[in-house]
Symmetry: C2
Subunit: 253 residues, 2 copies
DNA sequence: ATAATAATATCCATAATACGGAAACTAACT
DNA sequence: AGTTAGTTTCCGTATTATGGATATTATTAT
């Protein structure tokens, strides 16, 4: 009767994850009726679904009677993280071996990027990021590469939610400036973080095409080493690595 | 007809999470038939459930045709982590304010503990652990406090899977030694990490009772400051904090 | 304090949804 | 090329999830 978007999905499963996503979107705490106005599911249905989650530990009920994400999700998230990292690490390793600079992979997490995997450069230079670390989208190479894959409206809402701090004087300061830069990135196929996150650090990044979750990889290092000549070598390698990761991610059915 | 364990849970939801847990248990990659022998679900059912997860991004299918955890779980896990940490942080903060030493909360994640939240001590002493970090159970205060809540059989299988490295000469070396120690912990109500993880560092830890996922909190610092007199103050405070966290976690329906 | 209001939780008849046996298909091994 | 093991699709069946109506509990107003 009702035309469902997906053909053969199990409805209660789809719904339950939709609910979990909504709870996450809302910052971790939601009331039942908030959920029923966000979705167009009737209250009893939501309640039953959530009760199942609560008894299994994937959701919790707070003193407020609000619902929140449950502790057992942590393990699953960790597992997924580890797994994805394992998939990317050989490619990142190859980049580091060829280029000599630190390589990262990150995914979009709501309105920030999360670093999923890192292979540090052999140079004894401190790492600027760490796995699990969250960063803004507008001032990082991976962030901008990811944003360039999205529509302007999505970009606006992400940046509106996350804000636009300016860690250095080179950081992008306005949404218009950012949208312009994203245009350049779309044309060029990769993004450059020109000391926007930290002075003296330059980064080249590229989106992983067709990733289920928006994903990008990057190489970064001191401006002295990471220059135009570096880019000539790095960009094709980044493209190949991104493609390989994409293939591995998307090899379904 | 079939007597289901849980009264009012939504079956497909329960099953789907059972599958995700099994994938995680198996180290992130499973074949369909492995799943069907672990559960007693028929293959078509598992396949349909997984296909739903795959199309939504909560599972992935690898080139091997194996199934793995999907990237969208990362965000949910992060969200749960943040949320739980937020719940514990005021209590940890209170411990640090009263005792002047670093306080942590950790949960059991399969066969290791994961640090969920930390409030560092005001002393300029480096931190030994970081949020998100995984550690063994047998050589940490939180780990032993958590193990003491479990049965001997469960402890044995956890330690068998995780192994028993001995970072210091004070570390517990055998399963029998560990089970004895757990007995003492049960009697006393709290655990002591006596330089077992790192020389010079002592830690008092206590389980959070009735947590949906086994959970413990701790205070730790240099042996010079964290001594018997310290324990007299710390233990009642730990107990109160653990109880408060427990109440907040369990205040359901 | 007490009443009015709004939220959450439970019931239960209905039928739509998920189920799983059987068969088709695909890859891996001999 | 033939065989086996594993994965995927089909489809009739009935079990399972559904959601309108109702009861219950919290919250706010008086």
């Amino acid at each position: 009767m009702a035309e469902k978007a997906a053909g053969g999905g199990v409805q209660s499963v789809e719904r339950v994850f939709e609910l979990l996503e909504l709870i996450t979107d809302a910052g971790g705490e939601v009331t039942l009726s908030e959920l029923s106005s966000s979705t167009d599911l009737p209250l009893p249905t939501i309640h039953r679904l959530l009760r199942t989650l609560v008894t299994k530990g994937y959701a919790r009920q707070l003193p407020n009677r609000r619902y929140a994400l449950g502790p057992r999700l942590i393990r699953l998230g960790e597992g997924a993280n580890k797994q994805l990292g394992a998939l990317a690490r050989p490619q990142l390793k190859h980049l580091v071996d060829s280029l000599g600079e630190t390589s990262n992979m990150a995914v979009l997490d709501s309105d920030m990027v999360i670093y999923i995997a890192q292979v540090p450069s052999p140079h004894s230079m401190r790492m600027f990021t760490e796995v699990g670390r969250r960063a803004h989208t507008h001032d990082t190479g991976v962030g901008k590469a990811i944003l360039a894959q999205l529509g302007d409206d999505a970009v606006r809402s992400i940046v509106a939610r996350a804000g636009m701090p300016t860690p250095t004087e080179k950081s992008i300061k306005s949404i218009d400036e950012l949208l312009e830069e994203l245009g350049r990135i779309r044309g060029r196929g990769y993004s450059i973080d020109e000391q926007e996150q930290e002075l003296g650090v330059r980064c080249f990044a590229m989106a992983v095409p067709n990733a289920p979750t928006p994903t990008a990889i990057s190489v970064s290092g001191p401006v002295s080493r990471v220059d135009e000549r570096f880019a000539e070598k790095a960009v094709p390698l980044l493209r190949a690595a991104a493609q390989t990761i994409s293939d591995e991610l998307n090899l379904a059915s």
